[in-house]
Symmetry: C2
Subunit: 434 residues, 2 copies
């Protein structure tokens, strides 16, 4: 099996100033190719550290991918180390990258300084993959077997996650082109919301135990997207594998029902988009404790303007009353964090913006709760052409995580409500067609 190591260069990682998310994203892609990641390693912006660590990883792996250590203010150290490892005597200008540097800075209305131009200089021993999202080029060093005892390739990527992840498809293409002995691997995912990973694994235990031996199941949990279930098969023929995996996932339908929100790698806001797009229906929201996060998630989907009319974040109580027409009596009788207020908020914003459906939240994200409700309580209200619905959820996280959970849960409840609503509508119409 082809082995890889992922390295992170930079003092900012070692002193804990930033969390390394690149390595995890890169390893997911390598794993999807059937490449085994043996180690992940972080070390500092220091010539000897870079030379020694990268050389050692190249000795023990077929592929080494490094991120970081490249940027206008600290290019020098890393590039000099890469030049030493690869025996480069001089730097050359990569014209395509220089053009990108100029374009990026001009588009931002910035002057192109010498330190910006210098980013396009690379050791003459490397090939360049252009970084379209930033100024630092991706450098590819291919070492013959003599150097490290076996052929080895080093990919040096910038550390900015947006740029590193942006360059990843090109890196993966390069690996597919040049790396011999890649086995085929086939993956497919489904997305499940509403169960913790442990509860889900208990629920589908028998299904998991009955999977064919060559299928591998992986769980990935995320508070914004729920649990992703992934089935993989190494080797074999693509159409066959896809059909076999689909058949296994299909057996989950009776167990999980509408907790499955997508039959591919997806997000809740995309699933909402898929329901609304082309339907002529529109959506609005009213947010209290989620403070804009639901609207932010909905509008993170390109083309959301087709169905999303807008939202009101009613953080202060008078705004709930004045704008959303939540009755003062309702607040007094049931409290701000209540089923009644959630429903009146949803009804209010639906009427105010004139949307087909609306979703609203009122809750306590933290740090402090109130007398009736602990931190982590949220009421979700939904309004639509066939009535209203509300549901209470409890989480036990810090403020930032509670806000995310509340927002994701609101999207999920909205999704399930609309699907049930549309289904009931269809079935209630059906007898009339006889």
């Amino acid at each position: 099996m082809i082995q890889a190591s992922i390295c992170t260069i930079g003092d900012e990682i070692l002193i804990g100033q930033i969390v390394d998310t690149n390595s995890s994203n890169i390893s997911k892609e390598l794993e999807a190719l059937g490449i085994k990641v043996t180690r992940m390693l972080s070390f500092g912006d220091d010539h000897d550290e870079i030379v020694n660590n990268l050389s050692n990883e190249l000795r023990n792996n077929d592929i080494v991918i490094s991120t970081g250590g490249l940027g206008p203010t600290k290019d020098d150290i890393t590039k000099a180390a890469l030049a030493e490892i690869s025996g480069s005597k001089e730097y050359v200008v990569n014209k395509a990258q220089l053009k990108i540097v100029n374009e990026i800075l001009h588009s931002r209305g910035l002057d192109v300084l010498d330190i910006n131009k210098a980013q396009a200089n690379v050791p003459d021993t490397c090939e360049v993959i252009n970084n379209k999202k930033g100024t630092a080029p991706i450098m590819v060093f291919r070492f013959p077997a003599e150097k490290f005892g076996h052929p080895a390739t080093l990919y040096a990527l910038p550390g900015v996650p947006f740029e590193a992840i942006g360059a990843l498809p090109d890196i993966i293409d390069d690996i597919k082109c040049h790396q011999k002995g890649l086995s085929d691997i086939f993956h497919k995912c489904i997305m499940v919301y509403g169960l913790a990973e442990s509860a889900l694994s208990k629920l589908i235990e028998d299904w998991e135990d009955s999977l064919p031996e060559d299928m591998h199941l992986a769980y990935l949990s995320n508070q914004l997207t729920g649990v992703r279930l992934r089935l993989s098969i190494y080797g074999g023929n693509k159409e066959d594998e896809e059909r076999r995996i689909d058949a296994e996932f299909e057996r989950l339908r009776p167990l999980l029902g509408d907790m499955i929100y997508s039959w591919q790698d997806d997000t809740l806001q995309n699933a909402i988009g898929a329901i609304f797009r082309g339907s002529g229906m529109t959506l609005s929201c009213a947010e209290s404790c989620t403070g804009g996060e639901i609207a932010h998630l909905i509008t993170s989907v390109p083309g959301a303007s087709e169905y999303f009319l807008g939202s009101v974040t009613s953080y202060a109580v008078p705004i709930k009353e004045k704008l959303l027409k939540v009755r003062a009596g309702t607040i007094k009788k049931f409290g701000v964090v209540s089923s009644e207020v959630a429903v009146e908020m949803a009804t209010g914003v639906r009427r105010l913006l004139g949307s087909t459906y609306s979703v609203a939240t009122t809750g306590l994200a933290g740090p402090s709760g109130d007398e009736q409700n602990p931190v982590g309580t949220v009421w979700i209200g939904i309004a639509g052409p066939n009535g209203t619905y509300s549901v209470k959820k409890n989480y036990r996280n810090d403020r930032a995580r509670n806000i995310q959970r509340f927002a994701a849960s609101a999207l999920d409840e909205l999704r399930k409500y609309i699907l049930r609503d549309l289904q009931m509508n269809m079935s209630s119409k059906r007898p009339a067609q006889h």
Copy 2:
């Protein structure tokens, strides 16, 4: 200087299933003690991998902290590896940890299985720090100088972040007790918004060159918070160092002016909070292209309800007209993405919600632009008691990053506007006091 390495044990890290956040949290604590973290390393749940990697790190460092590889289903491999490294011949029951295991499982209403009890068994070569948040004990191995060429200590922590971070204060106390030669380190940060890292480094080049030799400068860029500049001094006396770093940062004031938004590690939304808190002033916002992100950032600050009244996300044009009273004529004449519409949105939401200040955005986050404006164009409008203000910004990123840039930029413009406004107000009042 005392050197440390942080290791993460577990296949789930290597295949990218989870992001390692423990290492970053641990290194922050070590750094605060003046301990230099030389490497961070992740490797798999495999006996030889664990023995070889941990031994190697112990050879090159005074302290090694590992997380992971301890849990009811995979205790065996890691403990056997630790027993081998430390030459342990048998396991002993740690009674205090066994009591905790029993208590935790009982409190969850679960039976105590043999694999749970086994968690309290540890190699006889280690000391135990009890894990109060989970079932796996923290094991401390102290190696004499003969073993690795210098005295070395290995702390083995569980991988669950909640447990690892929960145990950290005890680990730090143990290090302070046992580690000789701990030197002090002192850091301080300032936050700068509105300049790319390269432009900033050019602007403060002379200042950077003139820094005393024992001060180390680090840059950290983030699109939501701008650039963090950090000065560090190792050794010496804490009050002296703080005074010396303050004096150096003070010399940046004439160069950077109000681009410095905080004199400590901070965010723009916190800086906004600091302006509003206790002032009696209130804030609202109207969002188009940012779709809720500004409100989300503002409300991510605990206690934001003191000054943040709410917001309107007017994604559809009719909502801009109906709710925010943007005139149809203005939109027709200048286009939706224009200075005039940004100002009318800000004015409209300020009147609608009755806030002291308001900020609004209208722009094109992508993927597509319009005839007048390329993707990445945003107009920011601000309204307050002394008038209105608008400014245009251009970025060239993908949709998600443009939204973040737009939102951060709007917060920064709002911050600078209010500070200028308050200053003018004060100076216009001053002559009257004569």
